[in-house]
């Protein structure tokens, strides 16, 4: 089944009031943002989509695929799941090696591919500082390593037409590369972010408040200009970060910068 669009039929906010946004459709090829203060229900919105909620979650939202209620198998069986999710839950509980975990995950998605473990680890190591090795136990990975491994895992094993990303910016990994890797081409991408650069990279964004979707904002031309300039600041910040990370020292002349 080709997935051309997903539709979120609004439910209720934390106070039991109907959400202001009653219906939201995101089409193939679109990168859609989810913004709002912490606790406003962004992660719940993403997990409603991941679980293809049918008015059976706290929000009572309903998710349609291509305008229709998705088949039951798609909700349950990872082999038929067409949704990849990168959540904030990044602490591995699995007491197994990186290799065992990746092979098991590939199996759960019905994927058999020679060299898939190396492919994922190489990809992950492009996003993080200290390299991950396949014989490492998952539970010893650092926050950044876990995050990078998850990004690479989602990009390769869970490669799906719908991609849901929950805050890619918070783990000390290269967020632009990570987003590019995940978003691919011709997918439906929803990304939760507090980062203005990432937020303005999207075509539209929904604003969350008290557990409900309150407003949809289209990214204006002016905002896209702002985005470009913010991006410059961001790159400059990254440069400083890398300097410090590698034991360098900063001087006042390093911050002589104009937007």
């Amino acid at each position: 089944m080709d997935i051309n669009e997903i539709t979120i039929i609004g439910g209720y906010n934390k106070f039991g009031e109907p959400e202001a946004v009653r219906e939201l459709t995101v089409k193939k090829g679109e990168i859609f943002g989810v913004v709002g203060p912490t606790g406003s229900g962004k992660s719940n919105l993403i997990s409603d989509i991941e679980q293809l909620a049918q008015r059976d979650t706290l929000s009572r939202r309903k998710i349609l695929i291509n305008g229709e209620v998705p088949p039951v198998d798609m909700r349950r069986d990872p082999r038929k799941r067409r949704i990849a999710q990168l959540s904030q839950n990044m602490n591995f509980l699995a007491d197994m090696t990186v290799e065992e975990f990746l092979l098991m995950h590939a199996k759960s998605r019905g994927i058999e591919k020679e060299g898939i473990v190396d492919e994922i680890i190489n990809l992950a190591n492009k996003l993080t500082g200290e390299p991950i090795k396949k014989e490492y136990n998952l539970t010893i990975l650092s926050g950044g390593q876990s995050r990078s491994l998850m990004v690479a895992d989602v990009a390769v094993i869970s490669d799906s037409p719908i991609v849901l990303i929950d805050e890619i910016e918070n783990a000390g990994i290269k967020k632009h590369e990570a987003l590019e890797l995940l978003a691919g081409y011709g997918k439906i991408v929803m990304v939760i972010t507090h980062d203005p650069v990432l937020a303005l990279m999207t075509d539209r964004r929904v604003v969350m408040k008290n557990g409900g979707m309150t407003e949809i904002i289209e990214t204006t031309e002016e905002e896209k200009e702002v985005s470009k300039k913010l991006n410059n600041i961001d790159n400059w910040m990254l440069l400083m970060r890398e300097k410090i990370r590698h034991g360098g020292r900063l001087a006042l002349e390093d911050i002589e910068f104009t937007v």
């Binding site: 990168l86 699995a94 098991m104």
Partner: protein, 250 residues
Amino acid sequence: MDNLNKIDKTNKKDIKISIVAGTPGAGKTSVLIHTIKNLMNAGHKPAVVKIDCLYTDDDVRYGKLGIPTLIGLSKDMCPDHFAIYNMEEMVEWAKNQDEDIDILIIETAGLCHRCAPYTKNSLGICVIDATSGPNTPRKVGPFLTSADVVAITKGDIISQAEREVFRERILEMNPHCRIYDVNGLSGQGCGEIADEIAETKPLASLENEELRHNAPLCICTLCVGETRVSKKYHRGVLRRIDGFTKYTGE
């Protein structure tokens, strides 16, 4: 259906039996409360028995649903053995309620994971906590491997990849089970568990009913109250750490 089953005299209606087992703290009661609400909304009349060891206040939680609730405390006995031994009483109790009970749900505490209280013609439901890690399905034994339905709880607090790995491990241990992701807080997935319970065939009598899996093989002096550790005090069927099993005694 009714004309097939005329065995029990007190029988008002044959009862569908579901037996729910799972690791402590997995969320059995929370899942069941949502499941029972679904059953009641669909017009069923469920009753619930909770078997625990030393203490439970789940009768208060179930009581809020306004359904008949029976508590059994096994005290110093194994709760699963206690549940199995008392199954006829539980069914009897359910049939003697004023309302026409059509579904009996038995929730057991379950401790050593070495047995499963499911019988051949009941619905066996295993509730298992995804945060216990993907090695858990390999450790827990018959209550998972002989279950019809596996309800995975707390999946919302681990990553999608780990959730999928956990599910795969369950399928390795029990390839024929039907797996549902459930949420004990929101009730998500409990509608599907309720459908499974409602679709179970009613059981006319426990007369010839059998367990799916035997309870642990062990009858020794410890089972009847011996507290001394030294080997010389032990009699019965005993197994050494190297696997050597022997019978000591008369």
